[in-house]
Symmetry: C2
Subunit: 211 residues, 2 copies
DNA sequence: TAGATTGTTAATCGATTAACAATC
DNA sequence: TAGATTGTTAATCGATTAACAATC
């Protein structure tokens, strides 16, 4: 069974991380052959109706009366999430957060290969960290082309982030994970996703004091 | 003007990070006296109606025909978000991500003081990193009590996270920022917020391949 | 066949937006 | 006063849930 784009309707934003959770549940589940939406729901904490609805946005992958083939559904979810292949990723900004992400094993395990680091600090340029060479920003175009880099992680200070993003867009990067605490402008066709630790902390603080 | 809890209705989850963005906009804005919902909207990328609606969940802070007092609104948002005072935070897990968060200046700038680190790796225990001492997990209760720790950041492996969270709950921690990629159980009254880098990467991958 | 479970429709729920009376 | 802008109501939009015919 293969996922084909044709079935696709407008997907609620919140469906996307749920798909990731479903995929994880399949990896962890002991069900070898078939798994029901009810079982996936139990493993993930969502509801069975939600599981079926989310999957149905992308096609018909189950068999009424039986359930979903674990093997097939894994493949389908890999395809839908775009993690059925490797991504070459550039990491821009070699500060503490950048270095931590470089050392974080999760990226590589998921098929996201950080293959080049960039920073304008002369003390960092030329260093080799975790097998990844640190380059000057003006070498970005060269490596982006050579290594088909279409995804980037940005961990530069807020004040530098828009310029960095403009450069990334200029060399053909299509998806950016931004940790700088600032709203960035990108042209249509380029996707940006923000993780803002300060705002997450404030959210936690809010939750802590409101009942 | 002071925010009092009494006005509060059920707050949409998505309102919370927007409040943080409004607060940032106030810090950055050049409006000295008064600011309109329209101006806040322009600075944050939301709509004026949304700004007014979000603020109205917590009380009446504006003046019709005039706008909001920048100074007053700053104070109110600080109170609502719970960042009008310092939080003492324990950091559990001194791996790469934990160390990066320890070095990340944003925490301290926001009034979140990481005052103790915990890890069970004997090579890490006793070390002093960025002015923070690393302790064994079994010393948690002692420090939690002494330093009134009510918030914690968890960066241990998924397999260890539930045990860690149970201990945190046991010593009175009320809010947990969890980076371990696993769903954790907490009793009512304890708030947990998850940041899952693997899932954020998969989200980015999804966005990158879906038009 | 009887029981199980999907995919989908309709109903519900919740959040956002538009509109405007109230008010400065 | 006239113009501006809030706070709130009603309308709209979007996402979730319940229910069930279709199907294995």
């Amino acid at each position: 069974m293969t996922f084909t784009e044709q079935h696709e309707r407008r997907i609620p934003q919140r469906t996307i991380p749920r798909l990731s959770h479903y995929y994880r549940a399949l990896l962890e589940s002991r069900e070898v052959q078939l798994i029901s939406s009810e079982t996936i729901a139990e493993l993930t904490g969502y509801t069975a109706a939600q599981v079926r609805r989310d999957l149905a946005y992308f096609g018909q992958f189950g068999t009424p009366g039986r359930g979903y083939s674990v093997e097939d559904l894994k493949k389908v979810l890999l395809q839908i999430l775009g993690i059925d292949h490797q991504w070459n990723v550039a990491l821009i900004g070699m500060g503490n957060l950048g270095l931590a992400l470089l050392r974080y094993r999760g990226f590589h395990e998921q098929g996201f290969n950080i293959i080049a680091g960039f920073d304008n600090d002369p003390r960092k340029v030329g260093q080799m960290i975790e097998g990844v060479k640190v380059h000057q920003m003006d070498e970005l175009a060269e490596y982006a082309k050579r290594d088909q880099i279409r995804m980037a992680v940005v961990t530069v200070p807020a004040s530098a982030a828009q310029a960095v993003v403009d450069q990334l867009v200029g060399v053909g990067v299509k998806a950016i994970l931004n940790f700088a605490p600032v709203r960035l402008q990108v042209p249509g066709g380029v996707k940006i996703h923000n993780i803002d630790l300060a705002i997450e902390l404030e959210r936690l603080s809010f939750l802590a004091i409101h009942k």
